[in-house]
């Protein structure tokens, strides 16, 4: 038994030193156009294109990992993957727990989406948001009643079936829903600017990786390829 264990351990050692630079990229896969999973079960979206390009530039071997949003930070810290690239806005609060690369989107205003024709008071009504997002914290502080859902599309469903007056989320995420609804859903109230743009989350102990990705992001900003991706996926403001 012991021998098998040692053999397995040694095999593991040699195996890992051969491909030491595999980076596991954690994403949610449910937040189009940032990240999603298409009907063939493949990752698609702005961040997938971006992440693949960044890995190419940083000469890293990357694989994609899907993880639910509510446990995405704990699993990064537990080492189940090495980066979070899931439309996560850079905030003071999260900076206490994990490090972020430089932002790869401009701060995207969040908007309220509601059923058309109603009068919604965004500071006292019932507002849906995904658990653990900056929008959820914002709603609690705004005085409105927060209804939390585990996944982003449940928040939209809550507005459509009238359970919530409006949903607060990133503009880029809400726009396809507003467009598809054929006028049934509309933006209400003022946009709110929360968070400092989206960045990749990386463990505090992993500064090496952070520097590599920072360099790659900066090079994409410099040659305009990042702007091309932002345009392609309609993410928002250009750099």
């Amino acid at each position: 038994m012991k021998k098998i264990l040692i053999a397995a351990v040694l095999a593991g050692l040699t195996f890992s030193s051969a491909f030491a630079d595999t980076v596991r990229m954690g994403t949610e896969g449910a937040y189009m156009p940032y990240n999603g999973i298409d009907d063939n079960g493949k990752f698609i979206g702005f961040e997938i294109d971006l992440g693949d390009e960044l890995c190419k530039r940083a000469k890293l071997d990357c694989t994609w990992v899907k993880n639910d949003w509510d446990s995405i930070i704990p699993n990064l810290k537990a080492g189940n993957y090495d980066t979070i690239i899931a439309g996560m806005s850079i905030t003071e609060e999260r900076m206490k727990e994990i490090d972020f690369t430089t932002n790869y989107t401009q701060p995207d205003p969040s908007k309220y989406l509601a059923l058309s024709g109603g009068s919604v008071n965004v500071t006292s009504g019932v507002i849906a948001a995904q658990t653990g997002t900056i929008q959820a914290s914002f709603i609690v502080e705004s005085g409105a009643t927060l209804v939390e859902f585990a996944t982003p599309d449940e928040t939209i469903a809550a507005v459509q079936n009238g359970e919530a007056d409006a949903v607060l989320a990133d503009k880029a995420f809400l726009e396809p829903y507003a467009k598809d609804s054929g006028g049934k859903l509309e933006f209400v109230g003022d946009s709110v600017l929360i968070g400092g743009g989206v960045g990749m989350g990386i463990r505090k102990s992993d500064t090496d990786l952070k520097n590599k990705f920072n360099a790659a992001i900066n090079s994409m900003k410099a040659d305009g390829s990042l702007n091309d991706l932002i345009k392609k996926w309609e993410i928002g403001e250009l750099f």
Binding site: D70, I73, A78, V140, V147, E148, E154, N161, E163
Partner: protein, 280 residues
């Protein structure tokens, strides 16, 4: 210690919307975890008590229906029991929630003459009513099976004696079958109550959204586990709370069991033992 006292004041009733609005976010103390998770336990107890109380009477109706010779009474009972015992509670919560959100949002006004109030269908999508409804149906189905088994085990000699005295119909049921049935069913029913109480922890993990971040004990434990990245504190706290309440349930039901068995010889009395027949 004084610090913890303010925490109790701020968060002791947080789960029902009283106290501090914003949950602790950074530098979370053990005291905050114990208080907030304990506050969430209010919901578990609420779901447990209401579902068991109303479920008991519905279960009795189902059991009598199942025992009836006529198919019109027997079949609905059987189908209901099969539906709720044959599928996982977890899926029932998901399904019923999705079903309730499809209901038109209307208010139904109930008028009792002396008292009238309006019933809002959108309440059904909220855990306090919708989740409770599922738990109620679920416990009714499981309890009905227990009660049915107990009705069938009432000694035939007792029934013969009753008939010999000319006691029949409803009279026979309430005076003869009911006390024996309750006594025979009680140990199993105790287990049902315990596991129903455990099942209350599922509600906020199954589609029913939390409003104003008011949830049950496990909701807050999960919150803390995600915030502090340390599952080794909040989950044992929840476990300890549940063990405590389970012990209370056992002692209350044990007290009732002694009452139900008071007329019997010591050897004939039924004892409460864990049986897993009733787990969902």
């Amino acid at each position: 210690m004084s610090n913890c006292w303010t925490t109790i004041q701020d968060y002791g009733l947080r789960s029902i919307g009283i106290g501090e609005r914003i949950l602790p976010k950074t530098d979370i103390t053990i005291c905050e975890q114990v208080v907030l998770i304990g506050s969430g336990l209010i919901w578990n107890i609420y779901f447990g008590i209401i579902a068991v109380f109303f479920g008991f009477w519905f279960a009795l109706m189902l059991a009598i229906g199942k025992n009836n010779k006529l198919a019109i009474f027997r079949n609905p009972s059987n189908s209901f029991i099969f539906l709720f015992r044959g599928s996982p509670l977890f899926i029932q919560f998901f399904f019923v929630y999705e079903l309730f959100v499809l209901l038109p949002k209307i208010g139904v006004t109930l008028d009792f003459g002396f008292l009238s109030f309006s019933l809002q269908t959108h309440w059904l999508t909220k855990a306090w009513l919708g989740g409770l409804f599922v738990l109620f149906c679920n416990t009714a189905a499981y309890s009905a099976e227990i009660f049915y088994g107990a009705i069938r085990s009432v000694p035939s000699t007792e029934l013969e004696a009753a008939e010999a005295f000319g006691i029949t119909g409803w009279h026979k049921f309430w005076r003869i079958i009911w006390p024996s049935m309750l006594r025979l069913a009680w140990p199993s029913y105790t287990n049902e109550a315990i596991f129903l109480f455990h099942a209350t922890a599922l509600i906020f993990f199954t589609g029913f959204p939390a409003w104003r971040q008011s949830g049950d004990a496990l909701y807050y434990a999960n919150y803390f586990s995600d915030r502090t990245f340390n599952p080794f504190l909040p989950y044992p706290i929840v476990a300890a709370y549940f063990i405590l309440v389970t012990l209370i349930i056992i002692s209350i039901f044990g007290f009732a069991n002694r009452y139900l068995n008071r007329h019997l010889d010591v050897e004939q009395r039924t004892q409460i033992k864990l049986s897993i027949n009733l787990l969902r």
